[in-house]
């Protein structure tokens, strides 16, 4: 409890936004991210308590983007780990290039290596390739670690990370090194809720459900993303989008995928290619670019039915 007071004080406000056209460390374009106050509070709690924050919510509501936003505002580094179905927990910490070591051993046996290279071989850490968590643990400064779509991996995957996330240290089996985190990373974990996560893992996380933004908030978000677009066009587009989403909710009872914020942004980008009056006319007619919003044939059929009824 005493050490709590000595912690480096980091606070995420959600108010510091990149300018339009600003690029991140890897050259990717940065966009404003407008979190709601509850999400900001959850992030700050996770930073303060040094516990991972698990984010769930509809696909496309900005779970993954939060990590970049937090990184940008706090001026830290981001280590992203995109989990695949074949991912193993150890990959996030390190991988050991045993094949490379074998190759070098072969070359050394046939006298094809210089003395320097042989010296390098003797260093066991030469063949350790650090993963995102491994790099974050060794960084002197706190790092934001994004573990994206943790539910994609095998059901034992989260459990294999328990000790590392809890005690913030791990051992490289091949070399016997013990890596202890110099500064506790800020771990953000996203899940699409396709599989349930084990209780033991959930216990160590803070949990926040990223709510879908309200209509007013959507307008606010769109205005921030497209400052040059006219107010009227944004309002009309969000209105049309909202109607469709509500209709989907009513028809499907939340069973299938509903259109999301990211789709609205894509759809609006497509709309903006036209002059404003033309885009407005399109919005008042048949739904423009339905392929951006409606991702299944059933949705198309249902939507057409809706148009005929309405």
């Amino acid at each position: 409890m005493v050490e709590v007071l000595d912690r480096q004080f980091l606070e995420y406000t959600g108010k510091v936004q990149p300018h339009l056209g600003e690029r991140g460390a890897n050259g990717q374009l940065l966009y404003p991210y407008l979190p709601n106050p509850e999400l900001v509070e959850a992030v700050n709690l996770a930073i303060y308590l040094e516990r991972p924050l698990l984010l769930k919510g509809e696909p496309g509501c900005g779970k993954t983007l939060l990590a970049s936003a937090v990184t940008y505002e706090l001026g830290l580094n981001l280590e992203a780990w995109y989990v695949k179905s074949t991912s193993r927990a150890r990959d996030g910490l390190y991988t050991y290039d045993a094949v490379g070591r074998l190759r070098d051993a072969q070359l050394a046996a046939s006298d094809r290596l210089t003395a320097e290279q042989i010296q390098r071989l003797d260093n066991p850490t030469t063949y350790v390739r650090w993963g995102p968590l491994g790099r974050a643990f060794q960084s002197k400064q706190r790092t934001v670690v994004l573990i994206d779509e943790i539910d994609k991996a095998d059901i034992d995957f989260p459990n294999d990370l328990l000790l590392e996330l809890d005690q913030k240290r791990f051992i490289v089996d091949e070399t016997g090194q013990e890596i202890e985190a110099k500064a506790a990373p800020i771990v953000l974990i996203t899940s699409n809720d396709e599989k349930d996560l084990p209780d033991a893992f959930l216990r160590r996380c803070l949990f926040h459900y990223v709510e879908f933004p309200s209509r007013e908030r959507l307008i606010y978000i769109m205005n921030a993303l497209f400052p040059k677009a006219s107010e009227l066009l944004i309002n009309q587009a969000v209105e049309r989008f909202w109607e469709l989403r509500e209709e989907m909710k009513k028809n499907q009872g939340g069973a299938t995928k509903k259109i999301s914020t990211s789709e609205l942004i894509d759809w609006f980008k497509a709309l903006r290619r036209y002059p404003e009056d033309e885009a407005l006319a399109k919005l008042n007619g048949k739904l423009p670019y339905p392929g951006v919003l409606l991702k299944s044939w059933e949705d198309h059929i249902r939507y057409l039915k809706l148009k005929n009824n309405g």
Binding site: V4, K56, Q106, D199, Y209, E211
Partner: protein, 458 residues
């Protein structure tokens, strides 16, 4: 902080089955000390939610207990206004009673008619019984008015002023009281209408109804009762719900996790260091690294659910079984099929028995080395009695099934002591059958992993 804050809430949530440990409580204390959750009640709720709630279902449980213990935000205001209202109502009530009483006595004194004496006792009864019900106060002030009108017709000259004054007083106070009562009732109704929507969040999050969440809590408590007792019939806890849920979702989820069989299958991607070193030892040099396939979970669950008839009381249990299995990623390609009493010729894709598919087609799709089958049915134990036809059909089906899957287990929602001498007892001889309790489900999963004593004869 002389005593620990929110400990009651924390323990209640623990009892409700939320996976919370001491460190979760400590985190809350830490956060409180840092100033989180202090501004108001909503902030405190948010803090606890972030720390202790890990899913949408748990959010409902949390909201329920938080409301119960901390109370809703509107309570202090309504309490304050209630006090004022109550005082006003008391005053009006008192005035009405006095008015009615005096009016009754006055009438009795002034009009010497036996008819009116009837209304006197009814008025004098009032002070002794607290007028809670609507009709009595309504009728009281109204009753004297016609009698007063009658007397008005008969002798209009001798109306004393004090009687008129009292009459007016009684009527006005009575109507005032009535008005207050009606307003209060309306406010209560509005409150009741708005109340259920309070814990439900703005976004539709959960696929499960609120009631379902509540019974999770109740079931957990009921189970504790039963296990601590001697398995007697559950108390009145279950009267509110017709569902029989001996296993909570959480327990099911935990148990499904045990149903795994890791095998090395598929494309060789991982370096097998030991084999490679051995190979180098054999040849004196490295020709190529030896690769082996990764270990993956190769268990697919085929869930066969008996629906309708005697299984109606267990529908919610079977829904839960299917739901947790699919959420746990256990079903693989096999999936859930439904039947009624016993599968003959067809299995159904849906609980309503609309989409049928011949059993042969389904079996042909199964990958025998991966699939295990779990049957959820009462096997005739609910009705009791022996049904030789059902035994015959079921055994034929089981025989066919065993040729296409690795292991079969049977989960029976009816307690074991009722199987004896019924169809279920007979079927249990040819397939490992277990009760639908925590222990039973555990054993069933062990059987599906090939670790059951009765499997040795297969």
């Amino acid at each position: 902080m002389d005593d620990l804050p929110l400990l009651e809430l924390f323990t209640r949530l623990q009892q409700a089955g939320l996976p919370l440990g001491v460190d979760d409580y400590q985190s809350m204390l830490q956060a409180l000390q840092a100033g989180y959750g202090l501004p108001d009640r909503a902030a405190l709720a948010r803090l606890c939610r972030i720390l202790w709630v890990k899913s949408v279902e748990e959010k409902y449980i949390f909201d329920y207990h938080f409301e119960q213990l901390i109370g809703s935000e509107t309570v202090p205001q309504t309490q304050a206004s209630n006090v004022n209202q109550n005082q006003a109502i008391q005053l009006v009530r008192f005035a009405t009673l006095v008015g009615v009483l005096v009016l009754g006595v006055g009438l009795a004194l002034w009009v010497t008619r036996p008819k009116n004496q009837v209304s006197v006792p009814s008025a004098t009864i009032l002070p002794t019984t607290v007028p809670e019900k609507l009709p009595s106060p309504v009728q009281q002030p109204v009753v004297p008015t016609p009698t007063a009108q009658i007397t008005q017709k008969k002798s209009q000259i001798n109306w004393p002023a004090w009687l008129i004054f009292l009459l007016i007083l009684a009527v006005t106070s009575g109507s005032l009281w009535l008005l207050r009562l009606l307003m209060k009732r309306r406010a209560q109704n509005n409150h009741l209408q708005t109340e259920p929507s309070k814990p439900i969040p703005t976004a539709t999050l959960a696929s499960e109804p609120f009631r379902n969440i509540k019974d999770e809590v109740q079931v957990a408590q009921a189970i504790r009762q039963v296990t601590s007792g001697n398995g007697e019939v559950l108390g009145d806890r279950f009267l509110f719900s017709t569902d029989y849920l001996p296993v909570t979702q959480r327990q099911m989820k935990q148990m499904w996790r045990h149903l795994r069989r890791l095998t090395k299958e598929g494309i060789a991607t991982e370096l097998d260091i030991e084999a490679t070193v051995n190979q180098i030892g054999c040849y004196g040099m490295m020709l190529e690294p030896v690769l082996s396939p990764a270990r993956v979970n190769r268990t697919e669950l085929l869930l066969l659910i008996d629906q309708d008839g005697s299984m109606v009381p267990f529908h919610s249990l079977s829904v839960r079984l299917g739901h947790t299995a699919s959420r746990g990623g256990q079903l693989g390609a096999a999936g859930i099929y439904y039947f009624h009493n016993c599968p003959v010729g067809y299995l159904y894709h849906d609980p309503l028995h609309q989409k049928a598919e011949p059993i042969e087609n389904i079996f042909a799709r199964l990958r025998q080395n991966r699939v295990v089958a779990l049957i959820f049915s009462d096997a005739g134990a609910a009705r009791g009695g022996l049904n030789s036809e059902r035994i015959e059909f079921t055994e034929a089906f089981l025989k066919q099934l065993k040729q296409h899957v690795r292991y079969v287990a049977w989960l029976n929602p009816i307690p074991k002591k009722r199987w004896l001498g019924t169809t279920a007892g007979e079927i249990a001889a040819s397939v490992p059958m277990f009760e639908a309790t925590r222990e039973g489900l555990d054993s069933a999963i062990n059987a599906l992993r090939g670790r059951h004593s009765s499997l040795q004869n297969f």
